[in-house]
Amino acid sequence: MRLTFTLTRFHPERDAHPRDEDYRLEVNRGMTVLDALIRIKNEQDGTLSLRYSCRSAICGSCAMKINGTEKLACRTSIRKELERHGQIRVAPLGNLPVIKDLAVDMSSFWSKIKDVTPWLSRPAHNSTVQPSPQSTSPQDSDQFHNVDACIMCGACVAACTSHEVSRDFAGPAALAKADRFIADPREPQAAKRARLVQLEQPHGIWDCTRCNFCVEVCPKDVKPMEAIIRLRRAAIEAGLTSTGGARHITGFVELVQKEGRLNEALMPLKVIGLNLGRLLHVLPLGIRMLLKGKVPNPLAPPIAGIAQVRTIFTQLRQRTKPS
């Protein structure tokens, strides 16, 4: 069949704005979007820039926006895209600067990976600390979840909604990488703690909104958001509980354990604590909510059967926490 491919073209040194260009191509059912792009480049327009290598979802270089979603072009079937969207539009990854056409500048992606120190720290030679195990067992590797499967394609970072508005956010790929070292038994506890202290800083683990975009788009099922959640839990368990994000979790759990439900009237106090300036900042909204009947009664009694809810927390918390 003959199909139109709409590609976003942009040559930053020459063009003021990106523009869409249509290419018509005879394709067959089994082709991938990358197959088509390579043919367009070879047969119709040699000036088209894109990045690829392995053509089999291994090297991570061909991630781009296909019909609005971040995907590996080499793993995306034309037929399925047509069924889903009725068209094929290809654009470069978002959230990263475009070098030309479909190729983006990955330097910020790589520097964020470097920022999380993606290698094991070992105790110094003269250290008196008990040495950590030298190797990992198969059970330990389960703890890395699927994080090691990451092919550094950048799809998650390009799809990240928090990154979209805050470019300094460490982002899903780098944070998933960091989680792998927190889970590694070979790394000493002190080094892990140092990692968590760095990760709880602004632009770290607490900037994630848990929107699930990274989980949805990752071609390797890394589930970066789940990794971020594990890091948050590790931070809280390591006693790093003073950030707004950590207080949000501990305060929320406290309220649910006590009342069985979440009372939004009490959440700001839990998250902000006694910081007068911050409280004054949320107060005007609180007053407007009160006038509109949107502030739940802070003295409402707990839900029926609250004893059972409390048992759930005491019983299952003991079980999930490593003793």
């Binding site: 975009f213 759990v253 649910v256 407007r288 739940p296 759930i312």
Partner: protein, 301 residues
């Protein structure tokens, strides 16, 4: 035969967005839905309890499902976040017998157990699939044909798609279908499947309101008269924080935000006072003026 469900209202509909609960109760009868409210249900955990304590969050939800199971009913949610969290929890409880057993050991102390027979469905899905758009169309008294309506899905009702299995997160259609059925014109805009920032709005307000503001500005730029959402938490960041969000993106938004059942109610001719519309921070007068005019014309005709 009415469709019967165990209604799980969620904390937001019982707390900061009571108009969601009110409007739900005001519209379901006309759609042939009957509910028994799960009054003793706890919070679903909103993904937050699960961050601290995954198994406790599963158990809270198993407890809720067990209550619905005893009634022999499926659960109806009215919160996109509840749907995401409870749907995923239910899936795990059904697929991992060891987890279910551990959870049940705690529930059994109070003579309760979850057998894994319940399904969890959002009102939006129920309207589209079980009530049917045909029946909704028959109930429309006040066609919304003067309005361009921006659907805002929110994260948890779409992603991860394998836990939800309803809409395609790349190209969801259920809200658009509902909007078309009530004769409104759905607005296509970049933010419709994005995030409103709510989960971090208390601790990282600048990031969250920029997200909310960008999405609302997108919708407005595409000509939206108002927005509709199936998630009360989205409603909070889009409505309660709208003024601040507008400042963050340098736009005057004044974009009314409706909960899904409020849109259904207006279109079915339910009086606005039964839909809790006066509880919004962003006034919805511009919509009510039009719909009320239509309603009076009809009464006279």
């Amino acid at each position: 035969m009415p469709l019967r469900y165990a209604l799980y209202p969620g904390c937001a509909a019982k707390g900061a967005t009571p108009e969601l609960h009110q409007s739900t109760m005001a519209v379901i009868g006309r759609l042939g839905i009957e509910v028994v409210e799960l009054a003793a249900a706890s919070c679903c955990g909103a993904g937050v309890v699960g961050e601290a304590d995954p198994e406790a969050a599963l158990a809270l939800n198993a407890r809720t499902f067990a209550q619905a199971e005893q009634l022999g009913l499926d659960v109806m949610t009215i919160c996109g976040t509840c749907q995401g969290v409870m749907g995923a929890a239910n899936k795990r409880l059904k697929q991992e017998p060891a987890v279910l057993e551990r959870v049940n050991r705690v529930l059994e102390r109070d003579g309760m157990a979850y057998r894994g027979t319940v399904q969890v469905k959002h009102l939006l899905w129920i309207v589209v699939k079980e009530v049917g758009l045909q029946r909704l169309a028959e109930q429309v008294r006040v066609p919304m044909d003067e309005f361009r309506i921006a659907p805002f899905y929110g994260c948890y009702i779409l992603r991860p798609s394998w836990d939800l299995g309803f809409d395609d997160p790349e190209n969801p259609t259920s809200l658009e279908k509902v909007i078309r059925t009530v004769k409104g014109e759905p607005v296509a805009y970049a933010g419709r499947t994005k995030c409103c920032g709510f989960p971090i709005i208390l601790e990282k307000e600048a990031i969250a309101i920029t997200m909310a503001g960008t999405n609302m500005k997108d919708a407005k730029d595409e000509g939206a008269d108002f927005m509709v959402t199936p998630c009360p938490l989205c409603h909070m960041s889009l409505d309660i924080y709208q003024e601040r969000a507008g400042k963050a993106v340098h736009a005057n938004l004044s974009l009314p935000i409706l909960h899904l059942p409020q849109l259904l109610g207006l279109a079915m001719g339910v009086p606005p006072k039964d839909l809790g519309l006066s509880r919004h921070l962003v006034p919805v007068d511009s919509i009510i003026r039009v719909t009320e005019q239509r309603r009076t014309q009809q009464r006279l005709a």
